[in-house]
Amino acid sequence: MKKLIRDPQTVVKDSLAGFAAAHPGLVRVQTDPDYVVRADAPVRGKVGLVSGGGSGHEPLHAGFVGYGMLDAAVPGAVFTSPTPDPILEATKAVDGGAGVLHIVKNYTGDVLNFETAAELAAAEDVQVESVVVDDDVAVKDSLYTAGRRGVAGTVLVEKIAGAAAERGDDLAAVAAVARKVNDRARSMGVALTAPVVPHAGVPSFDISDHEVEIGIGIHGEPGRERIEWEPVDGLVQRLMTPILEDLPFTSSDDVLLFVNGMGATPLVELYIVYDAAASILRERNIQVSRSLVGNFVTSLDMQGCSITLLQLDDELKALWDAPVETAALRWGR
């Protein structure tokens, strides 16, 4: 295995050190336990937003810490949810008196560890609300399963809830906006290759040179189905159909179209995916009024992408357009 690393054991710490050095005005990086907070945290009177999860999905989450988005990010080991300690410390560090929202991707590990941290925070008199993101339509949801995964839609939740917090919404209102985004967002992904986790040193699954995995997650889990490679329009149709049917999205809806790279797919391809997805929406008379294309919720060096649709309304558009200043998403300042 070749990677630009020192040692598989120190990947997260070393990367955080670089992140701290590269963005001194934006964030502070705490160590032992490890988490990243806005340079000006805690912001008095503002609801604090904390997210986190396994590392390997960069820029998620640390790349979204800053004005108008997250107040703190808590990175676990690669693909492994963080433990409660750093979540608790981050929660306390960003509490400006208005309470803290935990944005948690729906994985058993993330949910359990954030849950424990929230209980511990409550015991220290920090008001915590939690929103669980589960936008991945590849996974069947039911009371008797682990439910849907949280994938790329997380960025949209973090951006929009962050804007709501920044405009002064209280904790219940910020949580409600976050849930609204999650309720209206649907995602699905395809992988051409599997990621290589540093401490494993081999691809997370084996796949031949002419096959793709449909319905993959962001942790190197195999997907729901393996098929022969086909040109982009067919692959995009396989992602779009379940997405469109699920909400469902219907004619004259107004959407944000988000094409997310898994980390090793060139931008030139992501824009081709965007083109294919936009055509499908055009046919269905669904209007795309906002868009996002790039590597935002990745799976190390996996090749592939996910598509996310978010049903917009005026409030969500205004919050999406509101200024944001983070390492990985920035506009308006």
Binding site: A77, S81, D85, A200
Partner: protein, 212 residues
Amino acid sequence: MDGLGTDWAIDWVRRSAAVVGEHRAELSELDRAIGDGDHGENLDRGFRAVLAKLDGASPETPGAALRLVATTLISTVGGASGPLLGTAYLRGAQAAGDAERLDGTAVVALLAAARDGIVARGKAESGDKTMVDAWTPAVDAAQQALAAGGDASAVLSAAADAAESGAEATVPMVARKGRASYLGERSAGHLDPGARSSAYQLRAASDAVAEG
């Protein structure tokens, strides 16, 4: 004095750490097939931290030793298995209370409490292809061994055997909890890593009796 003491508990912990370290690659490989490939890494990180903690501490009761395991796993493992196993050891420790020695009845109570803790947190049922499928047969077998007049040693030996068979029995199951559930039908045909590691830990508990 009758029953298993603190030495047993400490030896259990050390043996668990050793067996997890030894099978780290195997556990991660099992997890690679139907999860995200980190289970061995996660538990090994946790148990190495437990050993480090143990060196600086001298728990005075089995319960104290297990509480040390619980808090360390919770604060170092992460993922799903960290809080689940952490809760198991925590509830086990609570069941053991301040007792200096545990007889068969106490051991059964410890195991049942541990299993209940996993279920309470993870909401998995038997047959969902999780570590519960090792723990529940283990608890059942332990109860039967006790009812048949077995002592702590017999109880643990029965639990370890049943956990092993339970882990094997996860192979054909379709996962309904944890990451493997994302695979749907494709999860069948693979052994659940958490069930396997649970079986290793229960075997360690039984093996430690000789020394306890």
